[in-house]
Amino acid sequence: MGLLDPSESEALLLSLRIAGVAVAASLPFAFAAALLLARGRFFGKTLLDGIVHLPLVLPPVATGFLLLMLLGTRAGLGGFLFTHFGIQFVFRWTGAALASAFLTFPFQVRAIRLVLEAQDAGLDEAARTLGAGWWDRLFTLTLPLALPGLIGGAVTAFAASLGEFGAIITFVSNIPGETRTLPLAIYTALQSPGGDAEAARLSALSIGLALVFMVAAQAITRQALGREDR
């Protein structure tokens, strides 16, 4: 970290932590949503599909504002959580993780769904006639076979989380050490006189990180889809 000053490495570590928590917390839900969209036949599936993909087209600032209206300490749900359980998202890094999770949810669902749809339904039938029930098949067949999709989706979502800006600054503000992630640090540097060099350094770091994760995600997804020979 010799290249970075303490506040910069703080922003980097915070970004990594927020992205990690966001992905870990949302992955099970993403798997459930992908399973529902890939296998389910129910009324309102198109609507669910639309809702899951909404963050892709919604302005992140609007998402942040929505979260603030919903989860601010004086808002309905947020107020309830705060007064009864002491849970607060606004101005906290957990809030940044929540916003990231929400915004990168579609990436995870898409990657997992692709792998699930490529799975051979015949295997599921074979497992059924061999005595495996639904949960059994989920854990011994569906999940292990979808693992490359889960990893690919998680890596993509992690990389996208690192770049989240609009929703975070709107929802949890720009607090050093708490919510000032890499993009927010770049923004802050650009706002201060003579901060161009710092902004450039942080931007280069962001680009490098994003590139590494995207390449990894592509490789994993390609391997997963190519591994269909039985």
């Binding site: 295997l123 039938e125 074979a126 059924r128 006639t129 005595g131 292990p144 039985r230």
Partner: protein
Amino acid sequence: MSLEVRIRQRLGAFALEAEFAAAEGVTALFGPSGAGKSSIVRAVAGLSRPEEGRIVLAGRPVLDTSRGLFVRPEARRAPVVFQDARLFPHLTVADNLLYGWRRAPVRAPESEIARVIALLGLEKLRQRLPRALSGGEKRRVALGRALLASPDILLLDEPLANLDAARQAEILPYLERLRGERNIPMLYVSHAVEEVARLADRVVLLEGGRVIASGSVFDMLTGLKAAVPPLGAVLDGLVTARRPDGLSEVAFDGGVILVGSGNPGERLRLRIAAEDILIARQEPQAISANNILAVTVSVVAVAGGLCDVELRCGSARLVARITAASARRLELAGGVAAYAVIKSVTVDRNAGP
């Protein structure tokens, strides 16, 4: 009866309406593609749900639409050996084999695992992943996986389809051994007469979603009224002696027949194609054929230039196809005594008990 099926099911434009019962041993569902064979297997396994009907598996009703009963496939103990094997790609052969075993309500003893692995010749494949197996090996693993699930019935959906002759020849002996050693009833889907003749005890003939005939393999494959082409006879026999000249004597219902292989005590299934039988009115002398049986003509059926002749030999039936001209020249008619000169006998080993 270990299996009773009476189902009515609409599958798109296709209507399946089948009723049959199967006892111990191998029951072949036989018919052209699109006859509804696989649909019946899916209904028995519980993978589809007929609109109407009743299925009883080993004394237990698993479907009875009159009282809304439908047992899910995972609770039926009726594993399917699919023609595409459907091995789990992320599990080794050993884990594939044990998938059903681990989930059986009453597990087969551990010694059974080794026996099945030996029976199917899978010793060297245990640690391999399915993608490293040949087509024939995959089918064998799928067969073993189903066997170890303590099945009440084994459903085999064209387990030899899309394999070349060499691969088929590799698997057939295992199926025959299975048939001989196990008491598990098997429902065997096939559209190949040779497979049915080798393996089946009973045959259910299907066409256009309906059962058009059913009965023992001998009735179904032998004689002029045989529902299943091509014409020929199927006989079960017991090897009584091995002669110094290398031939084996096989006793069957109509006498003794000589074949090129088999050891005393072994049960063989023999097939004699109609084209491989010559008919003579007098006992032929100095002839290369090893088998000449005294027979009585029972039916003579002329069709165009050809003539199919059913011959009785003790309680067994043979059928010969000769030209109509020969039949006239020999003055063949019901009740006439003759000799059947058998040019060749196909021997299927391990005809089973």
